[in-house]
Symmetry: C2
Subunit: 118 residues, 2 copies
């Protein structure tokens, strides 16, 4: 088997920077495709492809307005990501705390044996 399809879930869809950028833009409000093309400086077919992936995992919704398709954010599928990552939040704080302790110790050691030069 190759890599899981980008349309498998939000985890895979959002791994691509471009698609994250699209979601960032849509977070400010819905937009037709050409808006995104201009803002991202990306070829139109590529934007459409990325939007398709986002649509398939439910991260965006389309609305037809004349000959435009207006895309809107639906961030709900991001929730599982949020929940999964949040579980590690404490864990990384612990690491930083430990680092703080080590740094504090180093500083104390330095203070202790220095005779003030300056």
């Amino acid at each position: 088997m190759a890599r899981a399809a980008t349309t498998t879930d939000a985890f895979n869809a959002v791994a691509e920077l471009r698609r994250r950028q699209i979601l960032d833009l849509l977070a400010a409000g819905e937009r037709p495709v050409n808006d995104l093309v201009g803002l991202l400086d990306l070829a139109q077919p590529l934007v459409s492809k990325h939007l398709r992936v986002l649509r398939e995992v439910g991260l965006v919704q389309v609305r037809e307005v004349g000959r435009q398709r207006v895309y809107a954010l639906d961030s709900r599928p991001l929730r599982p990501i949020h929940d999964w990552v949040r579980a590690f939040e404490q864990s990384w704080n612990e690491r930083f705390d430990r680092l703080d302790v080590v740094l504090a110790e180093l500083i104390e050691m330095a203070d202790g044996d220095v005779s003030s030069d300056e």
Copy 2:
């Protein structure tokens, strides 16, 4: 260009379910490779490969103990994911709120024009 390498960043590394599972396991404490192989019911070379990806993005660290390699979690590279996703938190709550409103309205309508049929 093909898809971005899995070792590009935590976003890509974590898109794979197996790797998330490995991190979940390591969250409970460090473990040698064979432990993970048993727990994940996955071929050893595969586990080693996944661990390599995780190592390259800094999500795990290795320690050599005899002929074993003990892997430990380092969740700090998950922080960017957490920060990125968190920005959408409010957004998805809004959507749920709106849904709640719609549901409430539907219920009211139903209550209003129903003559109680048990």
